[in-house]
């Protein structure tokens, strides 16, 4: 017999479930401009506090304040807004197309548009992103043709992936966008490896890895952190903390301890936590981390605090696990509305121009959609030939595959 009482097993659970009143009072949000901007070559030990706060630039009054205000000219600011608006409009059309049965699946970015759109703007041509499924802003912000994205989503004959991948699993080497995998966090060590290769080759390019809050629990997250830390790889390691991993709240991936950003500390990797719904803050932090990488100072871990305002995917119903009003209660607001209000306050923008731009973008998206649907949709049958699935398994088709292709009737 033990002298100790029986142990008890604890499973973390969110305090708020459907039917409850949303409550984010536990999320401490410092005012915009409150967090200092250290030099990029700061000793990681001296900036540990930056993993426990939230770097914010845009104030509630529509001003950009503090040391993190980035230098962006008016044209860049307006382009940034347009990128986010395009991504949101694109999502809305494709979500509807999935509901209409034109494709099997879709994943939208609602509420998270600032992160990928602003981050891409901080990179240079030739740099390589290793994205997850919710960073299409990396493509949109480079004016990658929406037509091609839609062809991929429809798995039609012009799909660059030849109908082999789920919708939204884009790939474009020319745009620094690594082929998306449905397996979580595998891309994180790959990003580190790509960055190591750049350093080995005495190149000047850097890599960026992407992962969600839930997937930080994957072994590959930790594998990537070990390698990035050991070899000081020129890589920016991004964690998009949108509060929910499908139905699982972040306490399951993280427990009660610290923040996701703070996971960098054990590896000696500088870690920043940033308001993911603040376009200017995301851009500024991305530039800081990219600069560190380019100066051969090594990796940076960035946690973007945001909220997944929509479902995980078209196969998900969030009302089953969180209050419907939770998104409205999210204290960091909507990234597009906030940026719009900032631009209006600064005299760069107006409600009229915004409405006009929305209409222009809606036309642009619709025309790309029509063009893509003329090629075909998953349901219309204009998908790549079954003969094609035997291609690209290897560079040269081995005899057994040639035989199987013949057996399949091709």
């Amino acid at each position: 017999m033990s002298d100790y009482p029986p142990l008890s097993f604890r499973v973390p659970a969110p305090e708020i479930r459907p039917g409850d009143t949303p409550d984010f009072s536990g999320v401490t949000i410092p005012p915009a401009g409150a967090v200092r901007r250290p030099a990029v070559d700061s000793d990681p030990e001296s900036i540990r506090d930056l993993a426990f706060t939230i770097i914010r630039v845009m104030s509630r009054d529509g001003d950009a304040v503090g040391e993190w205000v980035p230098e962006l000219d008016e044209q860049s600011l307006l382009t940034g807004l347009r990128h986010m608006m395009r991504l949101r409009a694109f999502d809305a059309r494709m979500l509807m197309a999935q509901r209409q049965g034109k494709t099997s699946f879709y994943m939208q970015h609602l509420g998270e548009e600032a992160i990928s759109c602003a981050f891409q703007t901080a990179l240079e041509p030739g740099d390589m992103n290793f994205p997850t499924y919710r960073q299409a802003g990396l493509l949109i912000a480079q004016d990658y043709p929406m037509f091609l994205m839609m062809c991929q989503i429809y798995s039609n004959e012009k799909d660059p992936n030849h109908g082999r991948q789920l919708p939204i699993m884009y790939s474009s080497k020319a745009h620094g966008f690594f082929s998306i995998s449905g397996n979580l966090a595998t891309q994180y060590p790959q990003a580190v490896g790509w960055a190591m290769a750049s350093a080995i080759s005495r190149d000047t390019k850097i890599a960026a890895g992407w992962v969600g809050d839930g997937s930080t629990a994957e072994s590959d997250f930790h594998a990537a952190m070990v390698f990035a830390s050991t070899y000081k790889a020129p890589v920016v390691l991004n964690i998009v903390n949108n509060q929910w991993a499908i139905s699982t709240f972040q306490g399951i991936a993280k427990g009660d301890a610290g923040t996701f950003a703070a996971r960098g500390h054990g590896f000696g990797i500088p870690a920043l936590r940033v308001d993911g719904n603040d376009y200017l803050a995301v851009y500024a932090v991305a530039r800081w981390a990219a600069e560190r990488a380019r100066l051969n100072l090594g990796p940076t871990l960035i946690e973007y605090v945001t909220y997944r305002a929509g479902g995980h995917s078209t196969s998900d119903d969030p009302s089953a696990y969180r209050p419907k009003e939770e998104g409205d209660a999210w204290p960091l607001g909507d990234p597009i509305v906030r940026f719009k209000n900032y631009l209006i306050k600064q005299g760069h923008w107006s409600e009229e121009r915004h409405a006009q731009t929305e209409a222009e973008i809606a036309d642009e998206v619709l025309s790309a959609q029509k063009e893509a649907e003329q090629v075909g949709t998953l349901s219309s049958g204009n998908t790549p030939s079954a003969r094609d699935m035997f291609e690209d398994v290897f560079e040269e088709m081995p005899p057994h595959l040639v035989k199987q292709r013949q057996e399949a009737g091709y």
Binding site: S179, S181, V192, D220
Partner: protein, 337 residues
């Protein structure tokens, strides 16, 4: 030509490949300064610098995952997993990533990558240093799986694997590192310098993936073997006096089916031998192929001699390891059937 052990031949292959192509980088656990626990990368860090041959953290998924990123960048990583028994943490990276990258990206990204690993038993390694996991790779589309049985082939196949545009699993039978081993563990070790296939050209050459070698021509029975089992087959053939044709597959995927079919069509009898566990082992694939391609030439059922479907034992190693005696018994059965 020089007398080389399989270790020296593999080291020499790395040296050749790194000399010819500066995109070739080599890393793994203990691979850099020390040159690998089996010494297959000895001297490479000194010669090519720490940025092309270096030690890696003990994290197989990280080793393979970073190598995939390097391959996508345009390097030619050739990485070592210290024992094949340790490869499983990297299985997701190999199966879901390396193997599929070319296909899923429509050829936009590719993965020219070699993953080396010592395999097999005969060294009292117990269940975590003796496994032969070839079938968990041959079952995966998009990767090639190779297993040399001698220094000459090890060098030629390794250089070919490094130059291959797709990922290759390169399995090294560790009991063959220092000499051919026919299963007679009670006898003194034969060194490679006394074997003709231990005579290795020092210059560059390749051995094409997907080509089998006939180690002994014969008329009565075909033995399909690879790795250490090639020498067990030679011993069993000598001891039974059966005129067996011994095929060393060398490359499991792609497979040299033509050589297999030609041989079995000629002999009408086939015994498959491998160290790995039997159920769903690579022998099952070979047996099916022989049945599909050679059924009307067969004079006896195709037979398998394999490791048992148990974890690889420590004390009972020689009861597990397919011996010339066990193979010889099966050969006689097939001859008498």
């Amino acid at each position: 030509m020089a007398a080389m052990t399989m270790i020296e031949a593999i080291q020499n292959a790395h040296d050749n490949a790194m000399q010819r192509d500066e995109r070739v980088v080599v890393y793994g656990e203990d691979v850099g300064f020390f040159g690998g626990v089996f010494r297959c990368t000895a001297g490479l860090q000194d010669k090519y610098g720490a940025s092309r041959c270096f030690d890696a953290p003990i994290n197989e998924s990280g080793i393979v995952g970073t190598a995939i990123g390097m391959a996508a960048y345009g390097l030619r990583p050739c990485i070592e997993i210290q024992f094949s028994d340790y490869v499983y943490p990297a299985y997701d990276q190999i199966v879901s990533e390396a193997a599929r990258l070319r296909h899923r990206s429509g050829g936009d990204f590719t993965c020219p990558l070699v993953i080396r690993m010592p395999v097999g038993g005969g060294i009292f390694g117990g269940q975590t240093h003796s496994q032969s996991p070839e079938a968990v790779f041959t079952q995966v589309c998009g990767i090639k799986t190779v297993m040399p049985s001698n220094p000459h082939d090890a060098k030629g196949l390794l250089i070919a694997a490094i130059e291959d545009p797709d990922p290759v699993i390169f399995m090294e039978p560790k009991r063959l590192y220092n000499g051919p081993f026919d299963g007679h563990h009670e006898k003194p070790v034969v060194p490679w310098r006394d074997h003709e296939l231990g005579d290795v050209p020092e210059d560059y050459y390749t051995t094409a993936l997907g080509t089998a070698a006939i180690r002994r021509p014969g008329n009565d029975l075909t033995i399909l073997s690879y790795g250490t089992m090639v020498y067990v087959a030679e011993a069993a053939t000598a001891e039974t006096g059966i005129d067996a044709e011994i095929i060393d597959l060398r490359s499991l995927l792609p497979l040299d089916l033509d050589t297999i079919v030609a041989s079995v069509t000629k002999t009408g009898r086939c015994v498959i031998v491998h160290e790995a566990t039997r159920t769903s082992g690579f022998g099952a694939e070979l047996c099916t192929l022989v049945q599909e391609e050679c059924f009307y030439s067969l004079e006896a059922p195709v037979a398998r001699v394999t490791g048992w479907d148990t974890p690889y034992p420590h004390a009972q190693e020689w009861d597990y390891f397919p011996s010339p005696e066990r193979l010889g018994r099966k050969m006689r059965e097939v001859m008498e059937a």
